[in-house]
Chain length 219, copies 2
Amino acid sequence: MGAAKVSADHPGIDELFALLAYGEVAAFYRLTEEARMAPDLNGRINMALMAAAEMGHFELVSDALEQRGMHVQQAMAKYRSVLESYHAQTIPSTWEEALVKTYIGDALAADFYLEIAEGLPDEIADVVRGVLAETGHSQFVVEEIRAAVAASDQQRSRLALWARRLLGEAITQAQYVMAERDELVDLVLSGTNGLGQLTEFFEKVQRTHADRMAELGLA
Amino acid sequence: MGAAKVSADHPGIDELFALLAYGEVAAFYRLTEEARMAPDLNGRINMALMAAAEMGHFELVSDALEQRGMHVQQAMAKYRSVLESYHAQTIPSTWEEALVKTYIGDALAADFYLEIAEGLPDEIADVVRGVLAETGHSQFVVEEIRAAVAASDQQRSRLALWARRLLGEAITQAQYVMAERDELVDLVLSGTNGLGQLTEFFEKVQRTHADRMAELGLA
């Protein structure tokens, strides 16, 4: 975004990493919980592979936090409530909803974090990008959802509403985190040239969300 | 064991790999299920890391099955009932029982498979050893259990009984698999010089189990 990059020892970076770390563990347990709805072994294996990839990402950000002299679990613990709230507010009731949540939720998280990463020093941005790297298993979700919505208009409108709810809940929780954590707000504002850019930030997240809906056949 | 090595295209090898593959997926879901009993974030993270490692091993054996021209999920499916039975017969009722099950169960599986691997061609044995490689997280289990039994004699005798039950159930299920799958029996007998060695095989598993009990402070 062209802003001056923030310093690598900005305390908001510790907070960002801690949030990412808890996010990966929460995603792991959410995926394994939702895998119970899988109709077959293929679904169970794919959810397990995606969950395992989240822990690979956790290890990456956990190592980065340790290198910054942080106590990983202590730093993570304060993000428990916001992340558990997001999951508690978005419990899928069908296997297709679980798949859409996996896909949209991971992608929204990536949008938020990667946008923030742009204003960070390269070595910090690299950690964020590594944590959010594609796991290569999401093609399975796209195929299952496209097939499900091609077969039923009712399924399509139901899943489109569900995806909109996921977006709304993600934005609510993102704003909540920022309101609670001064270091994070300062980090985001420093990297985005202030509040004007912050509005643009949320608009950009919504545009990317629309592209993704089209990809899933939900537009 | 000095027996002539079996051929790399022995059909029992496909069966062995399929059994290993289902075993990893079953272990993944068992670990994540049992992690619900974890008293803290540290326990949840460690269980998730161990579960993720199981999926890394799954990918290894799944690739090996594919390279042998097998349909992975079809081959795995026939081992569902025996592995789910083992887990259904050994549901832990406390966090400490869950930890002992993780440690003893993984180790017993490794004993069985590595013993069989000795009679197999090198490239096959390498896959088996890769799948069963230590995940590096089990030290966490040893420390938690040693602390728990040092603090309470009642806990010690309770967990010692539990570990014996795990051994019994594992042997029962191993014998059941062999009775059901001719290709596997033939593989094991070819690699072990016949039935005399098979008895020795189970005796060896029990001796290794005793060493492990001592390591956990349960002897």
